[in-house]
Symmetry: C2
Subunit: 269 residues, 2 copies
């Protein structure tokens, strides 16, 4: 099933929600009760999905936490991929990119074998390094533009000799008429003054926004600056939903935490 | 075992070789005779290692080709990691990088569980995104600077408002006194005029150089521009060694192809 732009806009309006739940199942952080299970990451993430699927429009799986466990982690990931609800976008947050013949392998794995609808990508090596992802019009390429970490100032916020920020160059390169229907950009909510800049450069594109929640970005500023006529926003919240009470978090706590984020979002509909 | 700069210099001088063999075992390309084996990538790569270990100073495993096969691919990768000879650097070419808590997971997997000595990394998100790798002084961080693909011109070769190429900014950021003993830079041999620039900025650093062989970079220009007083060069050759006769390649062909590259390198010692 092709989860295209109209599909996404429809889910957002129907659920009155921009919420993407970030599945970052860190073995050091997941509630103790899951640690004795045979497949702890899978069990925990399944419960998180059950507690949030009524209001989530996307799930973003952080691949590193599964990769850290080797083959068994990948096996849990492949099972988890089948649990993403049909009405939600499945984002594989893997931040891949390499020369063409290698990127092709990554695309095959994440899009075809794992069944992800979208994959996060590093732009550094240039457009041709992402072509194997970009040619897949049935899937989303999510290109890093301006990330939410302090190190964004090292390169992303440096200026070119044309007077534009580096992240602006990235957005312009990946924002052709042809690409805008299946390319999103990552923009951190911690940099809300820059969301407007990206929205000007890419008025029709969806934006994936981390940094609301744990990292302190403002929901109101984000919606104001980033929303467009097709909604255009996917707002990721990870740790604040998954671990609201740390190691003693229960499913009801997760549900309550997600509902709290949703109640803040509903007012915009 | 910590395979540090003196270790690398010693292997290079002892073997009279800069050769890193790139293990890119593409199922569509590996010789037919391996396809019926239970673990084709592993079997093929083991034979490649056997045919080249007398002259290789490093092996660079392209992780994507294993990842493409899911849990079974990772299982083959973990077995292969134990086959890297003790006198060679084991480079995991995975091109990872993410915010700190995620990069930490990648570092744990590749350095500790897989036992890689070195890992390739995307610099785009800035220094803090790579800290979990950089703090590991017993391991190498290999930062992408100027890659060998045409898309390098999209961003890496754009100029900043300070008049420097973007890749020069990257090299400067990761080339402190403290880091230079365990940080390498990737510089494509196809851009040999730029190797000199990087050598000026990072006189003491090791450089990992792809693009000799299949991509047409000149060995002579590379050695002239990049060698330093500790040798400072690791030159990767992948497809031209692994598949010199395509699908009917035999181990003897691989050995002959590697020996040919080595004979071209020996003249510099």
């Amino acid at each position: 099933m092709h989860k295209n732009q109209p599909f996404l806009s429809e889910q957002i309006q129907r659920k009155k929600s921009f919420l993407c739940v970030g599945l970052d199942p860190d073995l050091e952080k997941i509630p103790d009760e899951y640690l004795n299970k045979e497949e702890p990451l899978l069990s925990f993430c399944k419960d998180v999905i059950d507690c949030t699927k009524h209001i989530a429009i996307a799930y973003k799986i952080n691949i590193a936490f599964f990769e850290a466990l080797g083959p068994n982690g990948w096996s849990q990931l492949e099972k988890l991929s089948k649990e993403i609800p049909e009405d939600c976008l499945f984002i594989a947050d893997a931040k891949r990119a390499d020369i063409g013949n290698t990127s092709k392998k990554y695309a095959e794995y994440f899009y075809d074998r794992l069944g992800a609808d979208a994959l996060t990508l590093h732009p550094y090596m240039g457009v041709d390094s992402l072509l194997p992802f970009l040619v897949r019009k049935d899937k989303w390429s999510i290109v890093l533009a301006l990330t939410s970490n302090p190190g964004a100032s090292d390169f992303e916020l440096q200026k070119s000799d044309q007077g534009e920020y580096f992240f602006e160059m990235v957005v312009k390169k990946f924002n052709s008429q042809e690409l805008q229907e299946h390319v999103m950009f990552v923009v951190g909510a911690t940099q809300s003054s820059y969301i407007e800049k990206i929205r000007l450069l890419a008025p029709n594109s969806f934006l994936l926004i981390p940094g609301v929640g744990e990292q302190g970005g403002s929901l109101e500023d984000t919606v104001k600056a980033g929303r467009n006529q097709t909604e255009g926003l996917i707002i990721n919240v990870g740790r604040k939903i998954m671990y609201p009470k740390g190691k003693i978090t229960k499913p009801d706590d997760i549900r309550a935490s997600a509902d709290e984020f949703h109640s803040q979002m509903k007012v915009y509909f």
